[in-house]
Symmetry: C2
Subunit: 361 residues, 2 copies
């Protein structure tokens, strides 16, 4: 393999090369402290600067207003599936969940043991090829929050427009986290694993409306309590320091690129390169996804036959375009083009797709 | 600072330098895959080898018999404080906890919301300067397990002999994890954060007696279920890949050193260098800890006055002996000498202590 491939993996995934090189150079002796960052106390001054810098940048890049606090919590979005209902649901309160695919369904499965949950819309009936319109949502009485998944990694669909409902929204944004602006007024809580757009696996970033922390549950172990993590600046227990350090660097890189507006524009442009190629292929490449819900992060597509899909995967790999296989549960192809995916790599894929069609049409 | 100091931090802490250098060299382009390990799918073949290797080495180095399974779970020992009672306690079952200090107390605090918990022995009465004898333990009827903390990082005490009781033991071994042999027949579950003896912060290793998994709770979110993590080989959700990769390397380094027998012998020798210095000081250095319970990992000691302690910390820092300050809750000095702490560094500290006494006696 060459030093660097075009890596279309669905996550963990491509990170900015300059960030990786910086981390390598700083790895053994951080900040001239005579030790690695990972050998340092999480109470050490040098680490604290790294920690606070990452917290600050998470707020700055996300555009979260003062009403929100940020937390770094281990366990990925999956642990948040449990923590959200555990913390937010009081007696006689219910939560509505949108089942938009694998991840929406996962959130429902994990919330059920911890609260009174109902399905406000079920994408199963339309094969998970789109997100719901507000008018289709069944939001019941005493709904504490409506849970949405902003982007389904496997189905390749995204929530282009947020539901207009009376209940506050809670969103799992893992697979398009900080690739688009967030209308904060709609949300009580936003969370996502960092291992797609923001860093290595091992953590979720959770934004919480501070005012709701007064009413979150206290009758659970401290690690599971939002108020504890928030009060302690995500230093209640030893945090995943290396992950936080790297996330801080990626956020800095995003800021230098122009922040969320620039990232969001570039994401739309990168996605268009591939969707345009699909649309211009006269049905050679097809996408099962409703046009209005096409993900800007995960572009799923099929070829005319499974044999051609196999050849496509083999030939693209030969051109150092790797990890283009669709999720095992749905087959086909998928190009994941997260924040750190260079436009040049997406162009290389679009060119390859056109060339492959010419050669195998 | 020089390239490398003697780092006596209580955790995170010193890791083997050759491991750090290897990680640095492999960081940007892992295994000639054209990407970093942290950019790789957790389902990728190259990562899977890393993952399975770390799991295998955890079993091999710990000496866990076939009856035990191993799991890598995010959230550190602190999340285990919750998961243990959530998974293990059924209806009409109770658990006894030994309050041996800060960590034993933390385990109790976090277990209480999730089960019927009682304190089987309270070290508060003796100032947390020792562990209990079996005869002192109050183990009640219907005790599903007795929870112990093998080593208290802050108090500097260790459980030299395990309790002889009818109930199975569950142990938080975080601060002397895999520095001593484990009598597996006594345990149903053993856990510990990896950030002291085994790698960077961000994960616990949990060993569980497989037969108990049939009766662990199913009515909790999947991330909180031992049976789920175990069934999925710790790949139920995206694991903390970088931490696992590094832990695998540290375990390999331990194996090359001769495994647990050699590590345990060296730990006793390193600790003796410091305790002998304390004992030979004619009361200049004092330890509040019961002799039989002296930790082999965290050596706490006092000097005649707080002013001398301040000078000791300043002067030792000048000799690149760093992070010797005792925990803020107890004051004094503490030298943490985990697995990766070279004997030469401990000798340097012992020599410095003797020299400091001569100069400031």
């Amino acid at each position: 393999m060459p030093d660097r491939v075009h890596n279309f993996c669905a996550g963990p995934c491509t990170l900015p090369l300059p960030v990786l090189e910086e981390v390598r150079d700083e790895f053994v002796n951080f900040n001239d402290e005579g030790m690695s960052l990972i050998e340092m106390s999480h109470r050490a001054r040098a680490y604290d600067e790294v920690h606070q810098n990452a917290m600050r940048l998470a707020v700055e890049v996300s555009g979260a207003p003062d009403e929100f606090g940020v937390m770094f919590i281990q366990g990925g979005a999956t642990l948040q599936f449990a923590m959200v209902p555990m913390n937010l649901l009081g007696n006689a309160q219910r939560a509505g969940y949108i089942n938009s695919g694998t991840w929406g369904k996962g959130a429902i499965t994990d919330a059920k043991p911890h609260g009174d949950i109902y399905v406000a819309w079920d994408g199963d009936e339309t094969g998970y090829t789109r997100m719901p319109h507000t008018a289709e949502l069944n939001v019941e009485q005493n709904t504490r929050y409506l849970h949405v998944t902003s982007n389904e990694t496997i189905g390749g669909i995204r929530m282009a427009d947020w539901p207009e409902v009376d209940a506050p929204l809670v969103a799992d944004m893992s697979s398009d986290y900080l690739s688009r602006s967030i209308p904060w007024e709609k949300f009580d809580l936003v969370y996502g694993g960092v291992q797609k757009n923001l860093g290595p696996a091992g953590m979720a970033i959770v934004f919480v409306r501070k005012s709701i922390l007064e009413n979150t549950s206290r009758n659970i172990a401290r690690y599971l309590r939002y108020d504890v993590h928030h009060d302690k600046d995500s230093l209640f227990n030893t945090p995943p320091m290396f992950t936080i350090y790297l996330v801080g660097k990626v956020l800095g890189w995003m800021k230098d690129k122009g922040g969320l507006p620039a990232i969001e524009r570039e994401a739309a442009e990168k996605a268009a390169l591939l969707y345009d190629t699909i649309d211009a292929s006269d049905g050679y490449y097809t996408s099962p996804v409703d046009r209005a819900c096409r993900s800007h992060m995960n572009v799923v597509f099929r070829l005319p036959t499974e044999d051609l899909e196999k050849k496509f995967l083999t030939d693209s790999h030969g051109e150092n375009l790797v990890n283009l296989k669709g999720h095992r549960s749905v087959g086909g192809c998928r190009a994941s083009i997260y924040n750190a995916m260079p436009t040049s790599s997406v162009k290389a894929l679009a060119d390859f797709m056109a060339e492959f069609q010419r050669a195998n049409g």
